[in-house]
Amino acid sequence: MKEVTFKIDGRDCKAEKGQNLIEAAKQNGIFIPTLCYFKHLNPLGSCRVCTVKQNGRTIAGCTVSIDDGMDIEVNTPELLDARKAILEMMFVEGNHFCPSCEKSGDCQMQNLGYETGIRYTRFPHLFVDRIVDARPERIVVNQNRCIKCKRCIEEVITNDGYKVFNFTNRGNQTLVSVDYEQEAKLSESQAEHAMHICPTGSILVKGKSFGKPFGDRQFDNSNANKNIPLTDIKKHKTTNLKKKRIATTSLAGCFGCHMSLLDIDLGILDVIELVEFNKSPLTDIKKFSDRCDIGLIEGGCCNTDNIEVLREFRKNCDVLVSVGECAIWGGLPAIRNTVPLEECLREAYLDSLTSEEDETVIPNHEDIPKILNKVYSNHEVVKIDYHIPGCPPNANHIWNVVKNILFEEEYSISYPEFKYD
């Protein structure tokens, strides 16, 4: 094979003529994110997270074969943002509750989220009700997590040559469906292969999905010494060094983020040197007594009270930060968003195992807040200045962000600190 020269972002690179761009870039030390791309398959070109420019035209990088003199752009601000946006679309299109996902920590899509530094999605979550199909013999397909990358369709074939998966429907209704007859022919190892090639937690093998213990997760430390670029964090200007006031609250959350706040252990003493707490469950101060520099919000809004508290925080704090997944987009409580409210309430209060017919009601009193039609993320209700991802975010991470915002300290975040689960 002939070696040719081409350019990536203006830099001269060398590769074999006809080589796939993704591989060629990697050899030259340049990373192009991919999800559907799978070495030995013909390029699928379905996910589009590998979008690059070739001689000025945008194209899926995985579909490009290197030719002499090609001019490729990969890391321009426009392309970095477009790729991030495409990944965000995948997050909002499906229902990705990472903390309750078997693949978490081992998931290529999640990992790319970290790589591209997604803290929150610019798009509203769509919360489409999707099925979990447990009918197949060996596997379970969880449509909530499928990104329609087509890998399974092309790669999972029975010994006698039949496809096991295929798309059905079209447009935003497109699904990956299973041929039950063919699936039954798969061997245990073939089924596991299907689970492994799926870049998300959509294909699981029955009885195997918890096989890998948490803590031994392939992506967690793979980039331990790498810092994630959060280039779009803005700098705050404060020169005045007097003690800063903080307020915190937990809305529709589990208090996990607050527990995490306390997790800095003795570090809290340093923090107390720098800041004082106003309204917060940590102090048990119920009402704002002063204007605060920063408000930390855990949890999203699931009832009318949450909305009122959040609005009060916005009024009384200069900077408002959503802490944790629930605050950022609803998180685990938002699992209910894919089901109609009535069904949820009936299930909880009227049709549950312990409720008796005509004995129990859905609680309703003027003193208790009303349940909203869905769980709202905080930035759907008020303006939020920063988002700290994690479920919960780790303590150092939270305080680093806070200190950065308040005192303009140098801010960088290392890979293992950045989590959605």
């Binding site: 390029p43 699928l44 070109g45 379905s46 996910c47 589009r48 997270v49 979008t51 945008t58 899926a60 579909t63 426009e78 943002d81 477009a82 495409i86 679309m89 995948m90 909002v92 299109e93 610019r122 798009f123 509203p124 769509l126 990104i147 329609k148 029975t158 039949y162 496809k163 096991v164 295929n166 798309f167 059905t168 429907n169 079209r170 447009g171 935003n172 497109t174 469906s177 041929d179 063919q182 009318t304 909305i307 916005r314 009024k315 409210l341 009535e342 309430l345 005509d358 009601v361 859905i362 309703n364 009303k370 349940i371 909203l372 039609n373 869905k374 759907e380 209700v381 008020v382 303006k383």
Partner: protein, 575 residues
């Protein structure tokens, strides 16, 4: 069975039983030696194939924006009332009702297909009569509407190209006086541009097909005309179909292809028989078949392939997928179709109108063609005008005609035109400030759809209709188009509810651009166009749609709306 016959096979089942059953799918998959899911995936892709039983009469009502402004809602309500069914349901004992994307009757809206027979200019009254007749057991074929569109305008006599006298076989007879290469040179010289929307050079396309050594080549006539608002291909196929067939024969002669296929959209199957009859006439007169006009070795056959309801199948690469019996997903582009197209053989895909022009160029000479129109786009163009105009229909205009002329008293007679959509939802919207723009390569091109809206029409309502269309018609294979158009549609809904801020408007532009940048095929690359352009072109309108913003709140959170559901549940469940 050959996989390329799959769509025909599925049509057989669909027509005979009203759906493609599980057992039918099993039978077919055995025959093709593939898993059943593979056939299911094809069935569920196409709008007109059903995988559950439909009733004796299927009504497909067009929900395009033109239908909408001509009374869609009333007609829909009347149909539901008269049949006792709901749209989208599989219905009761007699009717199944579905909405469908533009069916190519924009000059006669609202229109519907009932058992694939056209019924146009519907009114509640007319609907009642039709349903009664059907209930009385009359055959819809006997009282279907005449759909032939009016040719409202042709340039002064000597400049008309398409809609002039037609004599069967004249172009072919003229063409065979030249060598194949000379035919291509003539087309090339005429600068004829493809009329399917991409305006690709026709001569260049023929040449690159000819240059391939392969002995097996194909000419495909793209009659999928799916862009909402266009009906000019139907007009050509109903008025002068012979021109198209001759164009295909000439393309075959020039490139060396021996087989031609007309990919006819399923919506147009009511005139398929007429086309078949004409094709037979061509065979009878030895303009098709073996040794055409006694030229040794000049063989050419034509057959019609029916589509099955999918806009994206109009895109040449998806069309080929569809003809090969697969889902209409535009494949990852590795080669051009002229190199590896249908059955992986060199293939020319040309639009109906392009082929008609090719015939005329050969018949009338390229110099005549070049004497009309503009420098970059010589000749004329067919435009389908619909919407708020007194004279909807087909206009053959000389390239270089301005939008103002098209709207004017001499032509379509628009009343207070305000928003004009040129080339359909995937094209470009035009505001009154741009009415002097000219239809030609040098300024603004028009694929054929020209929809006019007056001042009383709500722009967001129009845009919403377009976004719903793209959401429905996206093939679903790539993320930006599948998810992105859904998300954009949600934004438009938010705007319609009056909850959008300036940020939302900027986001629509940013997000739209990302979809354009990263989508795989032309559908996604153009779907956000109208939305993005309209925001800049109709600033006044959008300013009114955005409530003044508030410092600390992105938008006024809609508390009423958020607790409404809870309140009504509580009302119903308290003891």
């Amino acid at each position: 069975m050959d996989r390329t016959l799959l769509l025909n096979k599925l049509w057989e089942y669909q027509h005979k039983f009203g759906f493609v059953s599980k057992s039918a799918i099993e039978t077919i998959s055995k025959e093709l030696n593939v898993s059943t899911i593979e056939i299911e995936s094809v069935v569920s892709f196409y709008h007109f194939f059903h995988n559950q039983p439909t009733e004796k009469n299927i009504i497909y009502l067009n929900n395009s924006i033109i239908s909408d402004l001509k009374g869609f809602e009333n007609v829909k309500a009347t149909i539901e009332k008269e049949t006792g069914c709901n749209f989208g349901d599989y219905g009761n004992s007699e009717f199944s009702l579905f909405e469908t994307s533009c069916i190519g009757m924009s000059d006669q809206e609202p229109a519907a297909l009932i058992n694939f027979q056209p019924f146009t200019d519907l009114t509640p009254n007319k609907v009642r009569k039709i349903i009664t007749k059907i209930k009385n057991g009359e055959n819809v074929k006997d009282f279907a509407s005449k759909t032939i569109s009016k040719i409202q305008f042709t340039p002064e006599d000597d400049k008309t190209i398409i809609f002039r006298n037609y004599e069967l076989g004249k172009s072919i007879k003229e063409g065979i006086k030249f060598t194949p290469q000379e035919i291509i040179d003539k087309i090339y010289k005429s600068k004829l541009k493809g009329c399917g929307g991409a305006f690709f050079d026709v001569g260049y396309k023929w040449q690159s097909c000819k240059s391939n050594e392969d002995t097996e080549k194909y000419i495909i006539c793209n009659a999928d005309e799916g862009e909402p608002g266009t009906f000019k291909d139907r007009a050509v196929l109903q008025h002068i179909p012979g021109l198209v067939i001759e164009g295909m024969v000439l393309a075959g002669y020039a490139t060396g292809a021996k087989e031609g296929i007309i990919y006819l959209r399923a919506e147009y199957q009511f005139f398929k028989q007429k086309l078949d009859d004409l094709i037979n006439e061509f065979y009878n007169q030895n303009f098709l078949g073996k040794n055409i006009q006694k030229i040794e070795g000049f063989d050419f056959d034509i057959r019609i392939q029916l589509g099955a309801g999918s806009y994206v199948c109009g895109a040449a690469s998806a069309l080929i997928e569809s003809m090969e019996g697969r889902r209409g997903e535009p494949p990852v582009r590795m080669w051009s179709a002229t190199k590896h197209g249908f059955k992986h053989k060199p293939t020319v895909v040309n639009n109906v109108e392009s082929l008609a022009y090719a015939s005329r160029i050969i018949e009338l000479g390229e110099d005549f063609f070049l004497s009309i129109g503009t420098k970059e786009t010589p000749g004329t163009k067919l435009i389908s005008i619909s919407g708020d105009v007194a004279k909807p229909g087909i206009y053959e205009i000389e390239y270089g005609t301005s939008i103002r002329e098209l709207l004017g008293i001499e032509m379509s007679q628009a009343t207070a035109p305000y928003y004009v959509q040129v080339s359909g939802p995937s094209g470009e919207c035009v505001s009154p400030a741009e009415f002097d723009r000219k239809i030609c390569m040098e300024d603004i091109l028009c694929g054929g759809s020209f929809m006019v809206f007056n001042r009383t029409r709500d722009i967001l309502h129009i845009l919403r209709n377009f976004m719903e269309f793209f959401k429905e018609e996206s093939c679903g294979v790539c993320t930006p188009c599948r998810a992105g158009n859904f998300i954009l549609n949600e934004k438009v809904k938010k705007m319609q509810r009056g909850l959008a801020s300036n940020d939302d408007v900027n986001e629509i532009k940013e997000w739209g651009n990302i979809i354009k940048l990263s989508s795989r095929c032309g559908l996604g690359k153009s779907s956000p166009n109208s939305l993005i352009y309209s925001i800049d072109k109709f600033k006044e309108y959008f300013n009114l749609k955005i409530p003044p913003s508030n410092e600390s709140q992105n938008v006024e959170f809609d508390m009423e709306n958020a607790i409404h559901e809870f309140d009504s549940i509580i009302k119903d469940t308290q003891l």
